[in-house]
Symmetry: C2
Subunit: 699 residues, 2 copies
Amino acid sequence: MPETFSQQALLAIQDQLRDHCFTNHTPKTAANLSWFKQQAETYGLQHGQGLHLLGQINPSPGCLSQNAKKISALIQAGQALSVDLVVFPELALMGYSPRDIIGRFPFLVDENLKWLKALAQQTQTTQALVGFVDKNTSGTGKLFYNSVALLGHGQILKIFHKTLLPNYHEFEDSRQFESAGSLAKTRPEPNTFALYNTTYGVIICEDMWETVSPMGQPLYHTGPLTAILAQQPDILINCSASPSRQGKLARRHALCHAVAEQARVPLIYVNQVGTIDEITCDGDSGIYLPDGRQLCSGASFSEDAVLTQLPSKPAKGLAAGEKSSDSSTVGPTVFNAFNSFNAFKQKTTITRFSNFMETVQDDLPRTYAVLTQGIRDYFQKTGFQKALLGLSGGLDSSVTAVLLVDALGADNVLGVMMPTAITPQENQDDASQLAENLGLVTTTCPIGSIIAGFHTATPAVIQSINQTAGNWQTAQAQNQSNADENIQAITRATVLRQLGNTYNALPIATSDKSEFYLGYATVNGDMSGALAPLGDVTKTRARALAHWMNANRDAKNAIPERCISKPPGADLKQDPETGKVVTAESELMPYPFADEIIWRTTCLKQSYTTLLEMQLDYENAHSLSRAQKQDWLDKFFKRLSSAAFKWFIAPPILIVDETGSLAKSAYHHPITSNQIAWQGHSETEIFETLNSGNTIKGN
Amino acid sequence: MPETFSQQALLAIQDQLRDHCFTNHTPKTAANLSWFKQQAETYGLQHGQGLHLLGQINPSPGCLSQNAKKISALIQAGQALSVDLVVFPELALMGYSPRDIIGRFPFLVDENLKWLKALAQQTQTTQALVGFVDKNTSGTGKLFYNSVALLGHGQILKIFHKTLLPNYHEFEDSRQFESAGSLAKTRPEPNTFALYNTTYGVIICEDMWETVSPMGQPLYHTGPLTAILAQQPDILINCSASPSRQGKLARRHALCHAVAEQARVPLIYVNQVGTIDEITCDGDSGIYLPDGRQLCSGASFSEDAVLTQLPSKPAKGLAAGEKSSDSSTVGPTVFNAFNSFNAFKQKTTITRFSNFMETVQDDLPRTYAVLTQGIRDYFQKTGFQKALLGLSGGLDSSVTAVLLVDALGADNVLGVMMPTAITPQENQDDASQLAENLGLVTTTCPIGSIIAGFHTATPAVIQSINQTAGNWQTAQAQNQSNADENIQAITRATVLRQLGNTYNALPIATSDKSEFYLGYATVNGDMSGALAPLGDVTKTRARALAHWMNANRDAKNAIPERCISKPPGADLKQDPETGKVVTAESELMPYPFADEIIWRTTCLKQSYTTLLEMQLDYENAHSLSRAQKQDWLDKFFKRLSSAAFKWFIAPPILIVDETGSLAKSAYHHPITSNQIAWQGHSETEIFETLNSGNTIKGN
């Protein structure tokens, strides 16, 4: 490679590449190619020099022409630059994951094969690895493979299938895909190919995670990675679509480094970026060298094209355990891309948290990135521009407003204040201040008269029902109170829907994870909307995120401190004695307590009994009687059980947390399990129950 | 077996068994046992006579004490009757399926082991096969097994694991369970055990379906059934939880008969009954004999205890293909149980439909059974008694009202009429007539004044928004019209929620499958509720079901014919020219057309182009221009794409159909796929798109 080829020039090429392929999600396929050819000529770029292009794209599921145009733009640019190989993520052409649409509408798979063929026709001397859905025509097994095609010389040269099909949390590969390893008789040749005197080995996402332990022990018995290494490739490639979760990137980095080191060859890791419904891939593609260095890295949470050089023939064949002293055999030129957001990527070791607040503080930049990415992609991929939400002056609506503004632009967000007679003036002032800070369009729609309509219409109805039949008598006062509170929340959501219809804008749900867990979100009310950005963000994390955004956004302190620090509440009812609005925590339990319990039950799998007997972090900071603790724990599990039906009808929840999400794509909880005895039973109780037939506490 | 042991006496014992174990879902564990002992003495029942008891129970997921008490009651009764073996369904103790709760809360698995141990302690000379969740302690793979335990002599004698883990449609076994076949090194002994000189082979549900082809070709490569038959058992047992779908029972019967015939031994098939959220198992347990007869059968859609006798040592060892001429070697005594509802079980061959209306007419009794079971179980398992719904005098609310009455009792159903100024008097009359026929409690709540509240409050708000910023201008008139229509539907749902809170009753959604498919259901409106009974029932099927119920219920013609035959519509807007209420079909397309397209796309996998080019059943009955057909098809797929977000937030939908359900437990459709080009593209279009960069039609 010529010495004159400066890193600055490469970065300029990359800027152009990015603009060429991704600007406004509209690839300019036919433009700019002559500029790239000129650059290649100026710097003497040629095939066989080890130039690789990583195409970190953001696809929409099933939207083949959109995805294919991005792929095509990168292939053509790569060709103009004399790149040897352009590598795309898992299922780049179909988008990961299409979930069940390919099974219900197999015509999509036929279409994806047509597009793949057309992409192949565009390749000449540059080759490309493109993820797509292949058909399983063997006569046995699921109808499709999760595959990667090698395109070159105008043709589909080779096809590789995924072996390890993850089926847990947000993954459901085995619903539609057959494993490459399942049909021993028809198994294709090893997943390797040769290009410019270099042998490449190809694996697909989970294939690298042989030792993954998302549930406490390694999941797999087969080893596609080991099998591929037995072929002694010069370079290893992993085409991935790896979702972002708390702690995941650090684990992935550590694994990629370990694989490169163990395999003694560079690992090219290309990851999808962007959100498909609830699931966000972070990108962060990279090339990992056997000596522990990372050669280049793609952007976090943004499409990227990473141009980099690898030696065409790195040293290999060292015996296991042997250390190479000659690190110069791998190309030292690092072509870093657009790492606008990668401060949190530094950690390469796995941190296990032993304290709840650490889990919150650790992860705020990534939380922010996932949420803004998720909002932006939901709107772009469904074709909407504008969002609206209710502004209460409280924490959740304030945090959501900032996220919407940063994802969509202030011009595209409408904040609606909907006070009633009991709404404190302070809250309206806070909401107004927030809106002013953010530059939002706002409006005020007092809802008192609408609510009055319900209260005028229904008492006579209730009275008439009460008179008719023994079975229909007004339930206890608490229920009536709930009904009145819910009317307010539903009326607000209805006004938002009405304005949403009027302006072709999507109303956004503001309920947070703590509220979902405790069933403290109103059906058809605050939990209603096109998307629930905070559905996997606890109150504690939302509060920390508010402070983080106030400190780290360009415009500081957009959220008035009073919005963050006031006791959360829905402003739905007054305490008859004090006249003050009732807070959520007085009805439930302190959120720091509840949020710690959420973390302990979901991440640490601790049970009711363990929680009752142990010393909680909360107890280190607050004095708490055992009776009070037990009461809160009872309430937590009781509310959780009867909240499950709300999770079922929740809008898409952007998955953020390590394992504790309630998002339907990641967690399936039967509603009819709501009589589970969370406290458990002793062996004596169980024996007595079965032999006496008496009913014991719980069910 | 003594000749004096008459079938009448056996049926009397069975009646008692059923009452003992299932009445009001509260097993009376300690009662009646002396009566059973007395019967055993009277008729000389003894162990080793081949008496078997099939415990077809209806469990709640994770509700261990409820489920264990039913199991215990049957074991104790079996013991009193000198039964050799009591057989329960797959995961009888935990309920099938617990979905992800066992992964998130592994304490439930610990608890289930405690209950299993206590159940074992109850067994003496009678043994029992009980489905439960076992732990995988091998250090590799998913943490749990889907297992069956053999209990006897007070102990857990043996444990069998499931091998084939279905993972398609409503099944997701491999999310939480490891396959028995996956760990060759640690694989336990063959799934056989000996009892009273008889060798039994045990398989679990899908293990029998080696050749199952739910997606078009056989799914599996391994053969646990073949493996078990190599052990030459005398009797084969399958513990199942097999959901009901159109055509499924016929396929299952055919398979069970085929397995018994091929294996040359009797097959004891015990199936779960009841609904867990969206999924309904039908029961229909039975014993299939190798000569093609069925020895006994459990009830359809009802808990049952089937007492039957099998010879302790049937003939076996016949070479494959050989026919036994000695059918007397299997016990001829058939102890039929409570088949109140099994007319549709007669078919044992698989029918493929070639005509849309045949699919509807074929399946009405089972549709009715699934829906009433689903409603009843949702209420029982969540602890609610009362339901309420809006009565419009239209088809969907009328059908739903009948189903609610039959599932819950008329006393527990409240019908609310909520007319506006444009509601035709005819519709109110029809609703009143229906309510009178059903003996419902009804009330009327005119909603005009509530809607007026919205219309009074929002115009000023809209005006103020329009004045503020360029980005926020009222969208086209259609949107404003949608907003006004939606307000009415949402207001109705809000009144229902308010009354639901007041009376501790669950509001029920009335939207049908056609409306869900076409996005013609209002968010927070008619599609809102605890349950959507008609969510997997098209308008065409709902209409046929109405006629079937009118003809077949004890009280004939409960639904006024006018409710069934009037053009469907939501009574939300008037045609400005005619003054008449706008019908759904004038806004969409004829439902018979849409419903046929739903069937053809989901069951026959036909694509847009195929549908456009073929002769539809609809076209055989109606004249239809190609332009009109294309317009409707375009509208169908466009509406389907943007309706997906409504499926995501739909309440539980009771799964009825063969494969076309939108229920979230069975079908996952990414919302962000809504720019799919359903019409497809030609190779020329694709090539030109990629090479010119021009945008083509669709995306």
